[in-house]
């Protein structure tokens, strides 16, 4: 009975989150990007001048809301518990490479789902890679992979991550001249601050309660034949799909386009380099399985007081900065003067995706077959 309630809870959460994601696009976020944890952390890194890619700079209030929503809900439910110490620097490195994988593909697992709900079949190639990456991680989990245990931490340590989000919110609202804001490109497209913030708070609270995790969904089915987390993922997809189709009918096209690319149209913020869509998301699935959760889950756990997840998020942010400072990120397909360019991933990015897969394998091997303490 309890299991049924948990499953119903995560399905309701999935439906609400899917609808909110579509509404954020309606209010101004880029297409198929109501949410993208990777893109939003990348935009925030740009807003803080950690990289200078002019088209992706904006301190995204959704991120602030997600961490604080989780923090508030965990505190109310007496689940806020500062803890950490489970291989923090290894997690930083995994976070760094997960971001490289995300930005090769152009989206985190959350956005991959939203891209699918927008008819973007390039995301289907990403999903295939994502599953293969999770299978690689599950191989190590089955053999005893562990980053070892966490320990209780002082309250202050656990409070730092939520506190930083409060500071970012104050700066965004009261001292915006300290930050950089994109004037064109995806970074310039956003819902009003208050809507983004509330959307973040609601989704953060729902994700904290339901333990929503994109990696966990597929991982648990493979490991334990357990479908609870996956059901949230599926309902989110269906809700966003319906939302996109409704908006297409009401507001005109653009919210749902089925296919990879057309003679005169492209999928929003996506490219058609299938190998790199596959390998990018494979790296994400692999790294996130070794981390224990997708980028969304890392934000939620950071809000709950998990300092290892806070370090992982830092790794994601630094990874994003490196992606744009060293030209690792994928470039989206585009149309200039009626000519379609397919976009893709440059050599630097390709090399780093492969390096990331190797690093994940080394981390997996050492923490599975290495000498036990």
């Amino acid at each position: 009975m309890k299991t049924k309630n948990e499953k119903l809870g995560i399905m309701i959460a999935g439906a609400v989150i899917g609808i909110i994601a579509v509404l954020l696009v309606l209010f101004g976020n880029p297409k198929n990007m109501g949410y993208c944890i990777a893109c939003f952390l990348r935009d925030t890194a740009g807003g803080l001048k950690l990289h200078s890619a002019a088209v992706v700079q904006y301190v995204r209030p959704e991120i602030i809301g997600l961490v604080l929503g989780s923090f508030i809900m965990a505190t109310l439910k007496k689940e806020w518990a500062p803890k950490g110490g489970s291989a923090p620097f290894t997690r930083f490195i995994l976070g760094f490479f997960v971001m490289i994988g995300c930005l090769a593909f152009l989206g985190c697992p959350f956005r991959m789902t939203l891209r699918l709900a927008g008819g973007d079949l390039n995301a289907l190639v990403g999903l295939a890679g994502f599953v293969v990456g999770i299978l690689c991680g599950v191989f190590f989990l089955n053999k005893g992979y562990s980053l070892k245990r966490t320990y209780k931490q002082p309250k202050l340590e656990g409070a730092v991550a939520p506190a930083i989000q409060v500071v970012l919110l104050v700066v965004l609202v009261a001292l915006p001249t300290l930050l950089v804001f994109s004037e064109k490109g995806p970074g310039s497209m956003h819902a009003p601050i208050i809507i983004s913030l509330i959307a973040g708070l609601v989704v953060g609270a729902l994700a904290q309660r339901s333990r929503m995790c994109m990696v966990g969904g597929i991982r648990d089915v493979i490991l334990f034949k357990e479908t609870k987390l996956l059901s949230g993922f599926v309902v989110l997809f269906v809700a966003a799909l319906i939302g996109n189709l409704v908006l297409n009918a009401v507001k005109g096209g653009g919210f749902f386009k089925l296919g990879f690319i057309g003679a005169d149209w492209v999928q929003p913020v996506a490219h058609t380099a299938h190998i790199w869509n596959f390998l990018g998301m494979m790296l994400v699935g692999y790294g996130c399985t070794l981390l224990g959760g997708c980028p969304l889950r890392q934000l939620i756990l950071a809000g709950e007081g998990n300092t290892d997840s806070a370090i992982t998020v830092t790794g994601l942010v630094v990874g994003a900065a490196f992606c744009h400072n060293f030209g690792l990120a994928g470039s989206a397909a585009s149309i200039t003067d009626g000519v379609v360019a397919t976009g893709g991933v440059g050599v630097n990015g390709q090399v780093m995706v492969i390096v990331g897969l190797i690093v994940c394998t080394i981390i997996g091997c050492v923490n599975t077959f290495g000498k036990k303490d």
Partner: protein, 66 residues
């Protein structure tokens, strides 16, 4: 007594699954977070065990019986 304190999911569930391969009638596991408590409980129930939980200072002792 299986000690899964400080471990995050899915590790506690992997641990109980391995232990349950020996098909004993009773297992006891201690975890220190609600997510692990829920996940281990769910897994044990699927395997046909009845789970009772006792909590003390943020740690949950799960007793799983067949």
């Amino acid at each position: 007594m299986l000690d899964a304190r400080g471990l995050s999911c899915p590790e506690p569930v992997v641990m109980i699954r391995k232990a349950m391969a020996s098909k004993e009638n009773e297992y006891v596991m201690v975890v220190d977070n609600v997510t692990s408590k829920e996940n281990v409980t769910r897994y044990a129930e699927h395997q046909g065990y009845t789970v009772s939980v006792s909590e003390a200072s943020g740690e949950y002792t799960l007793t799983m019986k067949k």
